[in-house]
Symmetry: C2
Subunit: 343 residues, 2 copies
Amino acid sequence: MTKAPVSDPRRTLTLRDVSEASGVSEMTVSRVLRNRGDVSVATRERVLEAARNLGYVPNKIAGALASQRVNLVGVIIPSLSNMVFPEVLAGVSDTLDDTGLQPVVGVTNYSPEREEQVIYEMLSWRPSGMIVAGLEHTEASRAMLAQAGIPIVEIMDIDGEAVDSAVGISHRRAGRQMAEAIIAAGYRKIAFLGTMMPHDHRARKRLQGFEEALAKAGLKLVDQEFYSGGSALLKGREMTEAVLKRSPDVDFLYYSNDMIGAGGLLYCLAQGIDVPGRIGLAGFNGVELLDGLPRRLATMDACRLEIGRRAAEIIAGKHEGVIGGEVIELFPTLQPGDTIRKV
Amino acid sequence: MTKAPVSDPRRTLTLRDVSEASGVSEMTVSRVLRNRGDVSVATRERVLEAARNLGYVPNKIAGALASQRVNLVGVIIPSLSNMVFPEVLAGVSDTLDDTGLQPVVGVTNYSPEREEQVIYEMLSWRPSGMIVAGLEHTEASRAMLAQAGIPIVEIMDIDGEAVDSAVGISHRRAGRQMAEAIIAAGYRKIAFLGTMMPHDHRARKRLQGFEEALAKAGLKLVDQEFYSGGSALLKGREMTEAVLKRSPDVDFLYYSNDMIGAGGLLYCLAQGIDVPGRIGLAGFNGVELLDGLPRRLATMDACRLEIGRRAAEIIAGKHEGVIGGEVIELFPTLQPGDTIRKV
DNA sequence: CGAGGGGCTGTTAGCGGTAACATAGCCGAT
DNA sequence: ATCGGCTATGTTACCGCTAACAGCCCCTCG
């Protein structure tokens, strides 16, 4: 049974209430609740009991203001609706869990202006660090991050200049690598299918690297197709159909992500097309979903979990005093699956 | 005292810095930056310019403490790694965007203890409202929510007792409805495939409703299979294989979510099984992914976007003074797709 | 037996804003 | 000229908590 000792039961409780209920000073209560400093066992028990009975929940706003310390880490990502960012988040949470730090997520929907707002909003809560997806930001965003006086980690990508630290892979290199593998397997009429979003810089860089490697082999894309919005799986299907109709002689389809790749794969299988003999396929990300498909789509793991972990480690580390912007490059592994011919 | 604003460039700025730079009082700066009260155009311009030049970012911690107002709404969900909760979130964000309120997400991983921690943590930031998935919480969680003195909306489910308000569907009814449709289509040997998680109360309730309806028709489940962890699509495939091996005479497979249903569908198609003639299939959620599958899986839309929207509306509304716990029931529509025989 | 040192608790002064009220001009109406 | 009322700005007192320091008590040790 919870007792309602106060005259106004709806008033939110403060340290003072606990202090009065337990007969010690507010300071002692504060010490008990934060486990800081020496408090006798008897007092501690008494305070804890009082706090529990009252249902006291500390006010972190006041605490943060007084101590100039906030246990929050801002994590800013473009989207929650594809499986890649939640996995990064999982990595961040994993690592942060042991540190007393707590992630707070902001979503930008791939809009630089929105990102600027979210960063501003986030910084106004004075977090202990920020993890931001990508290296491309508005001038104002970069300035805010740089001036914030907290560790900043830009993640996913390392092809560009970081404000402070960075953890990611080279998407240009990833695109190149995939192209090389495809060419080595003997494919020559290669098409690209991807997202239309002009702000998906990483997809853009993969395509760049991909085309570079093609060019080096004296090839160029035979066709391309872009989409935006809708069910990625369905779009992959539709785009694949469109490309195959338009360019019947293509022998490889490179997708900018696994989801549309999976759609393409299902389409090809349904059409009875010989994969990877007549046509090869590849995606990007290494999402778990691929495990359940009738055939393994070739892909590259984007190191999402690892990126989240390393980013969080940097924040947690600096939090304890380390300094200096470091750039950590991770190396994705190519998973050839069953949709590229064996050489 | 360190009152020299220029001496330490890394010191974070305060209202005082802007006030000194623009030659007005802190109060006036505060008014300008919040667009509150009358300030002359000239002064406003001067202040804004100074703030911009300095790169001042307001300290919401101090602001919130002083004004006893926080524009945050806690949203607590079990997981980010299936597509259902991100969509709820999208609905919440949509609606909140127009209100000056901002969602802050907490993830519990389906653990009641973790949920309790997250709620505590959240409440300690004194948000303007809380949206929590589900009606099942620890005693302490319910107590905290009830005492918080802010609007609480429990979402997704309405089969149970709400702390304050609730928006959701009846999962029991949903299960019942699906069972009725299946029975009406003539299926009789029905199996259930679902998640093992003991804390997925909504899946549990659907199964209960499902079995109730079966019982009413004099039927009971012929077989069941549970999983936990891993790629849901793959698990769906594996479980389906297991069930079909073990109980070759089943004629319907009811899945607790679309993802494993999709895996099952792909498996059946690959095996050349006549769907929906020989075997019927159904899932739950109505996820977008289904659009891209070779055949439309029967499912029920869980009204995720709508739930998020309505929940946010309640918070935003109460924020403006409305009172009283309301329960809003939404009604999912059964989408028969192509995996249930037409009657 | 007094000094020195812990262990434990209390006191004071903010942290950086904002609510509420006070004040200084300036105007037109009386 | 007096007054009231308005606009634009400043002053004061906190918001709820914690850092830093100040005590007090009791024990140990030379």
